[in-house]
């Protein structure tokens, strides 16, 4: 029998051979005097151990008289007490002063912060951005290295775009996987808005693949674990009420010609002034208003001996800055925890209910206000088109003219109602028969039902032609069932803590919608849309903490996706990582300045299957709609289209990560540096297929990307006294991504990035060796004075012909560097904080300028009666005769620094009520050279985005 096997056998059999000597009993209390539930009591050097029950009581059998009893409890200092003949030991544990023992979440479990081996960051409620925040993502904007939060637009109810490291996939979903209290959300329906931001306890962002591999099937873009607030056991009744009121203003308007400037331009160009109107209308000023937002939150919580309850009621009401836009939301959060079997069985029920009402304004007004002739008046005198001035031709509204922006806004009635319920029952069961073994299960459902309509007034410029109603409704459902066994045990002989997890998860997703819209002026039922998919995962992890010095962790998952055929359905993903806890070495302990030092490294593999095609591998037939019929004789025959099929497989990402965590001067200064290197292959992307089949393009596994980056963060407690604290935290990320392979022998580039102006124009290109957001443009030629020459481009290939072969890749939208700076200061009851956020190295394509600023656009020749169209002031710089859509002139530097958030608060402590008053400013300052209204444009194509707001928020909070 070989040595290894012997050891294993010994380990298994050890408990049975330990022989009886005596029984000891006792009670373990937490530092606050409450019973410690689940503390481990064991005989040192043996596997003999037990855990305490709900009353903190334990019974340990077979204890030799000379034994040393070890009491350990997560978050508390481990104590060893020699038995010395006692039969009863009662003990009160002391809290571990080191925050390294703080428990942090990891995928399917939790661990001590000191034992984290991967790149992950936790942001707690007290570090969140302040203000009247609607969408949870905004809470962590600018706070975490390696996480880019692109601020939400000014559209009421809009959430920010969050990216954990650069998106590795090109055609799949780039959103991180959100796991709310253990329930992974549907990645294509991750409506975080239905979680009341005030209910969130913390975000934990798992950035590297060694941490996320256990979620294998959806973790390529990182995992964000969201924990909601819960009441503590045995706690007093607490009631809190917060109210916030915000006033929002559009940050900036597009810089267009005003009426006088426009008249001048018309005169300078020798055009007929009779086409002009005689008003002075600032259309942008007309379509926006001061927005308001009110948020109320009421929280009640209470803990009993075996039960705790927390309920919260939230209400948000917003009137957007764009006329007729608005958002209203009510949320009801409930968390009930109930312990059974003396704490061996813990049930945790969480429910988040939300009802949302989104009033949708016609956002076409944003662009229309940029280009509508400022000399025209808002109203006509005829009452036609609801009284709004419109351009017409002999048959009605002129199709080639812009519509009156106010006419657009006032003629549209459109609303989306959404009801969401997210319910989860979590059960944790300590299997007493096997000390250290625990089962945790989740049964969850995330369900929402929506209902929407859009009705356009017939008596309007946009509605006069008819076909102006649509109605729709549907639901989305995501059901989860998962379970895992965790087994923790300490091998005293090897001074090693072991932690094993084995589990499985099943999740299915259904989305269904029906709709009706007017076709030929009658309401017609559209084909029902149903999408089903399912994911199955089995996962395992083993972690070893050896001599409190080395942590090694490995995980594996086996994943099945219904999106693939049976042959390609399953994939295995692995992760491995290690950390060296140098904090515990003499070198650090004796250094005098170092207080913490850890080196981490890991590798992991993850998969991606979330594409917008659930049955690509099946051959199916699609019936045509009645409006797409073919006339045979007198009969209109509805067509049946045979569809092609393609056998897809998992997209996989390999990621390496190395990091260091360091603390100085008793952790007054702490910091982390992480580097990552990531390769994604078999990219799932939509691309062309060779001719010969029934599809000329489809999702396919084609291409690969490489991304790498360095993330740093540093935090300093600059002042730390009883009355005054000041913490300054900064983070910076440097990262890049490039495409390393595409479909086909020549890796033919793929045009992407549609723009306005013409139909089907693109401005970006995927090409091997380039960033996927690289622009693909003509090189503009300039005169001696630096002015662009109209329509003159560089003949880059020297063939004496200027055509699309002369377009080159130039700059990119992705930034190279992202950074954030947060300051938190408090003096007695006063607190003051601010957050700066910025990025550098990226460029925008200014589509507002390129689309409007040319004489061809200003003086169109395709309307029955002449009209003029306004332009941005850039026309005065370029004097372009026609749109020069693909000139690199419009690629403009988009570096920025924004003062996202400044907040001042004061607490008035009272006998019965604590009151807090605060004032917060959001998006107060933008420092940039960019010419457009806002440099921060996700994807880099700046085209009349719903302008962001600048806000002032007053808050009052009461705690009873």
């Amino acid at each position: 029998m070989n040595q290894k096997l012997q050891t294993v056998l010994l380990l298994i059999l050890l408990p049975f051979f330990a022989f009886a000597q005596s029984v000891i009993t006792g009670t373990v209390l937490e530092s606050n005097g409450l019973p410690a539930l689940g503390a481990t009591v064991s005989v040192k050097g043996t596997s003999n151990g037990t855990s305490t029950d709900f009353d903190g009581k334990y019974t340990l059998n077979n204890v030799p008289s000379d034994a040393v009893i070890v009491f350990s409890f997560i978050g508390y200092t481990t104590q060893e007490i020699p038995l010395n003949g006692q039969t009863s030991i009662n003990i009160t544990l002391a809290e571990d002063p080191s925050e390294l023992d703080t428990i942090v979440l990891i995928g399917y479990g939790s661990t001590k912060k000191a034992n984290v081996t991967a790149a992950q960051t936790t942001v707690k409620a007290e570090e969140f951005n302040k203000g009247a925040i609607t969408s949870p993502g905004q809470l962590i904007s600018g706070k975490v290295a390696g996480v880019q939060v692109t601020a939400a637009s000014g559209r009421p109810g809009d959430g920010p775009v969050i990216r954990v490291r650069p998106g590795s996939t090109l055609g799949g979903n780039q959103d991180a996987l959100y796991v709310v209290d253990g329930v992974p959300l549907d990645q294509r329906n991750a409506s975080l808005n239905t979680i009341n931001p005030a209910d969130i306890e913390s975000f934990t962002i798992l950035k590297d693949a060694s941490a996320t591999a256990i979620y294998g099937n959806r973790a390529s873009n990182g995992v964000v674990l969201i924990t909601t607030k819960k009441a503590k056991l045995n706690s007093d009744l607490k009631i809190g009420y917060d109210v916030q009121f915000a006033v929002n203003q559009v940050q900036d308007y597009a810089h267009v010609l005003n009426a006088d400037e426009f008249r001048q331009l018309v005169a300078d160009q020798g055009r007929d002034p009779a086409v002009l109107g005689d008003a002075n209308t600032d259309w942008q000023n007309e379509i926006y208003q001061n927005g308001t937002r009110a948020i109320h939150n009421l929280t009640v919580e209470k803990g009993y001996e075996t039960t705790s309850i927390r309920a919260s009621l939230g209400y948000t009401n917003e009137n957007g800055t764009l006329l007729r836009s608005g958002y209203e939301r009510a949320t009801l959060g409930l968390n009930v925890r109930q312990n059974f079997l003396k704490g061996d069985l813990k049930l945790n029920f969480t429910s988040q209910l939300a009802q949302e009402e989104l009033r949708r304004a016609d956002e076409g007004a944003v662009g229309a206000a940029v280009v509508f002739d400022p000399t025209q008046s808002i109203f006509n005198n005829t009452g036609e088109f609801g009284g709004f001035f419109e351009y017409t031709n002999s048959t009605g509204p002129e199709g080639n003219a812009p519509r009156n922006p106010l006419g657009l806004l006032n003629s549209l009635d459109s609303q989306l109602d959404n009801k969401q319920a997210r319910l989860n029952l979590n059960a944790a069961y300590n299997i007493r028969q096997v000390p250290g073994l625990k089962f945790t299960g989740n049964a969850g459902i995330d369900y929402n039902e929506f209902d929407e309509y859009t009705i356009r007034d017939f008596n309007s410029g946009a509605g006069a032609r008819g076909n102006n109603r649509s109605f729709g409704e549907g639901f989305r459902r995501n059901q989860l069932l998962d379970g895992r066994f965790e087994y923790k045990r300490t091998l005293e002989s090897l001074d090693t803590d072991m932690d094993f997890t084995l589990g499985g998860s099943f999740q299915d997703f259904t989305r269904q919608s029906t709709s009706r819209s007017s076709v030929n002026n009658e309401l017609q039922e559209n084909p029902i849309a149903i999408d089903d998919s399912a994911l199955v995962t089995a996962f395992a992890r083993a972690s070893f903490d050896i001599k409190d010095l080395v942590v090694i962790s490995g995980s594996a998952s086996r994943n099945g996706s219904s999106r693939f055929s049976e042959e390609n359905r399953w994939a295995n993903f692995y992760g491995a990582s290690a950390a060296l806890k140098l904090t515990n070495t003499d070198f650090v302990q004796n250094s005098g300045f170092l207080s913490q030092l850890k080196i981490r490294g890991g590798f992991g593999q993850t998969g991606q299957q979330d594409i917008d095609a659930s049955f690509a591998y099946l051959s199916v037939f699609t019936p045509g709609q009645p409006q797409a019929a073919v006339q045979f004789g007198d009969q209109f025959v509805t067509t049946i289209r045979p569809e092609g099929s393609i056998d897809l497989k998992w997209e996989t990402t390999d990621q390496w990560n190395a990091g260091i965590d360091i603390g100085f001067f008793d952790d007054r200064i702490t910091g982390s540096v992480d580097g990552f290197y990531r390769e994604t292959k078999d990219l799932l992307l939509f691309g062309p297929l060779p001719a010969g089949g029934l599809e000329n393009g489809s999702f396919q596994n084609a291409g690969s990307t490489l991304s790498r980056g360095i993330e740093t963060s540093i935090s300093g407690k600059i002042i730390q006294t009883e009355n005054m604290n000041w913490t300054l935290s900064a983070n910076a990320t440097v990262q890049e991504i490039e495409i390393t392979d595409l479909a086909g022998a020549d890796n033919a580039p793929v045009p992407v990035g549609g723009i306005s102006g013409g139909t089907g124009n693109t401005i970006q290109e995927w090409a091997v060796g380039s960033d996927p957001t690289s622009f693909h443009v003509f090189r503009q030629v300039y005169d001696q004075d630096g002015n662009p020459l109209d329509g003159v481009y560089v003949d880059t290939n020297g063939d004496n012909i200027i055509n699309d072969a002369d377009r080159v890749r130039y700059k990119k939208a992705n930034h190279d560097v992202y950074f954030g700076l947060t300051s938190n200061f408090n003096y007695k009851n006063l607190d003051f904080s601010f957050t700066f956020r910025g990025a550098a190295g990226g460029y925008n394509y200014n589509n507002v300028d390129s689309n409007s600023a040319s004489y061809g656009s200003i003086f169109p020749t395709n309307t029955q009666t002449p009209i003029y169209v306004n332009s941005t002031v850039d026309i005065l710089n370029t004097n372009f005769s026609q749109q020069r859509l693909q000139s690199d002139y419009y690629i403009q530097k988009a570096d920025f620094i924004k003062l996202d958030n400044v907040s001042l608060g004061y607490n008035f402590p009272g006998d019965k009520v604590d009151i807090r008053a605060s004032i917060t400013g959001t998006n107060l300052l933008t420092i940039t050279d960019y010419d457009g209204t806002d440099p921060e444009v996700f994807g880099g194509i700046d085209n009349n985005l719903f302008p962001r707001n600048r806000g002032l928020i007053f808050g009052l909070g009461f705690k009873f």
């Binding site: 080639n400 499985g504 797409a628 045979f632 049946i640 289209r641 000329n696």
Partner: protein, 532 residues
């Protein structure tokens, strides 16, 4: 006890996992159906052959080209006829477009590259159409008909459909041969897992010819099929077309064969209709008398066959400037397509010509084109009108989609080809007969005999110009210019070669490039056509 529990847990775990295997087998529950479900209804075959016809008329499965058949381009742009028209017309003196849609201006400028998305989309469309026809043929074999218990009456229809599917496939291969020279070749027996091999222009010619000859007997008699479906008349016309251009395609002239086929067409009972020329391009052209001259049409309908391509495009895109959209039965022009001064000059008297086929709109339009992007530069053409002969507008009250059917083949074309084949030395016809045919066309154009021509006037120059006058904007021009050797190295027109007065362009542009994207994906198509 402990043991029991462990076993139970293990067992439960396995159970969950076995169940999960099944849970991963999900099938579509929306309106998409599998083959087995589909052929429960024998009418399915009519629906699929309808798709093969729809491939020429519509962009996708929803009105207005939604749920498009091909990707890589806007659904409306992806319409077969619209793309084909752009290839055959925008590249010539007959049409020029103002828009900034991608590389569309490169077509008229003769500076297109193998990255041109319109050329790319045309290539995709042609091949998609071939794939749909192949699919129909493999779904309608005797074995399949037996498998799905298709009744005898349906089988008789399916036999006709099969001939038409082969005809439609040959028709698209003909476009591929004409535009791209070589093509990836597939038929109903091709293995989808194997990249198609290329057929050269000559091989394509041989395939098309042999297919058409093989199905001639299976096609419905000329003028006996349902309106809109192809019949023997269409087949003879297509044979005539490949024979007329055989010298371009294969280097071997086949004018005698052309005359043989044209004689069959001409004797089948079609007439130059006894209604004004303009009627042929109006909303009710399927019933206003003009249909007598149609051999095969692509049908459109404002309510039931809605597309932003086809005749909707040909009606809206040429309306702009001061033109009154109500005259065209539409809600507004798209201000895009005009013509060059060289085309204007083909009509004696130009915009004041006695020839009723001259339909120029000149109010505030200049004859010369200084700025391609300005609609008012260049005369507009008022050929396609979505109004019925009684003056009422077409069926779509919104004014977007038109009812005008597009004549692919008309009898006038057959007459003109006949004359040309005779002039080019084909036997089986004579100039006097040709003169009679040509004067039928002229008499309708002039309303009397004042425009009639003599036998002596019939030469190649006359025929090329007369083809332009009679058939302009009907997607023949590029092919005609190539056949007459005037597309590239001789003859210039405004903005040819991307310069104001036009310049000759290299001969390699007589065929289009194989899209770079296609060469990348299918190395069998290498090398690229010369010059690109």
């Amino acid at each position: 006890m402990k043991m029991y529990k462990s076993i139970i847990f293990l067992f439960l775990g396995m159970l969950v996992f076995t169940a999960c295997e099944d849970a991963l087998t999900v099938e579509p529950r929306d309106n998409r159906v599998t083959e087995a479900e589909l052929f429960q209804d024998p009418a399915t075959y009519r629906g699929i052959i309808a798709k093969a016809y729809a491939g020429l008329a519509l962009g996708g499965q929803e009105g207005g080209d939604g749920n498009a058949d091909i990707s890589g381009i806007d659904g409306g742009f992806s319409n077969y006829l619209r793309l084909y028209w752009n290839m055959q017309e925008l590249t010539t003196d007959e049409a020029i477009i103002a828009w900034n849609d991608g590389t569309i201006k490169d077509l008229h400028g003769h500076v297109w590259t193998d990255g041109n998305e319109f050329i790319n989309a045309m290539f995709s469309r042609v091949n998609y159409q071939i794939a749909v026809c192949n699919e129909f043929l493999s779904l309608s074999t005797d074995a399949k008909l037996d498998e799905y218990n298709i009744p005898a009456d349906v089988r008789a229809d399916v036999a006709n459909y099969r001939a038409e599917a082969r005809f439609l496939r040959a028709y698209s291969y003909y476009h591929g041969m004409d535009l791209f020279g070589k093509m990836p070749f597939t038929d109903e027996n091709s293995d989808p897992a194997v990249l198609p091999l290329a057929k050269s222009r000559t091989e394509l010619f041989e395939f098309i010819e042999s297919e058409l000859l093989a199905i001639e007997d299976d096609m419905v008699e000329a003028r006996m099929n349902e309106y809109g479906r192809a019949d023997k008349g269409a087949l003879w016309m297509l044979l005539s077309k490949i024979y007329m251009n055989a010298e371009v395609y294969t280097g071997t002239p086949r004018y005698t064969d052309a005359i043989t086929q044209l004689n069959k067409v001409i004797s089948a009972g079609y007439n130059v209709p006894n209604v004004p020329y303009a009627y042929s391009f109006q909303a009710d052209n399927n019933r206003n008398g003009a249909e007598d001259g149609f051999i095969w049409t692509i049908n459109f309908d404002g309510l039931n066959t809605q597309t932003f391509g086809g005749t909707t495009y040909l009606t809206h895109a040429p309306v702009g400037g001061n033109m009154d959209p109500s005259v065209f039965g539409i809600n507004g022009g798209w201000g895009g397509i005009r013509t060059t001064e060289q085309f204007v000059e083909l009509f004696p008297g130009e915009e004041n010509s006695a020839d009723t086929r001259e339909t120029f709109f000149t109010d505030e339009q200049t004859k010369e084109i200084n700025d391609v992007g300005q609609f008012k530069d260049g005369f507009a053409i008022q050929k396609f009108k979505n109004v019925n002969v009684d003056g009422s507008a077409g069926s779509d009250t919104v004014g977007d989609f038109v009812d005008i059917d597009f004549p692919i083949f008309r009898i006038s074309d057959a007459y003109l080809m006949y004359a040309e084949a005779v002039v080019r030395g084909g036997s089986g016809g004579d100039l006097t007969t040709a003169q009679g045919y040509l004067n039928q066309i002229r008499e309708r154009a002039y309303g009397n005999t004042s425009g009639n021509i003599t036998v002596g006037q019939i030469d190649l120059d006359y025929l090329l110009d007369e083809r332009a006058r009679e058939l302009h904007w009907e997607a023949h021009r590029r092919q005609d210019l190539v056949r007459f050797g005037q597309f590239t190295t001789s003859k210039v027109w405004a903005w040819k070669g991307n310069v104001r007065n036009g310049t000759t362009t290299p001969a390699f542009r007589n065929i289009l490039p194989i899209p770079a994207q296609e060469l990348n994906l299918n190395p069998n198509l290498q090398p690229q056509n010369t010059g690109y």
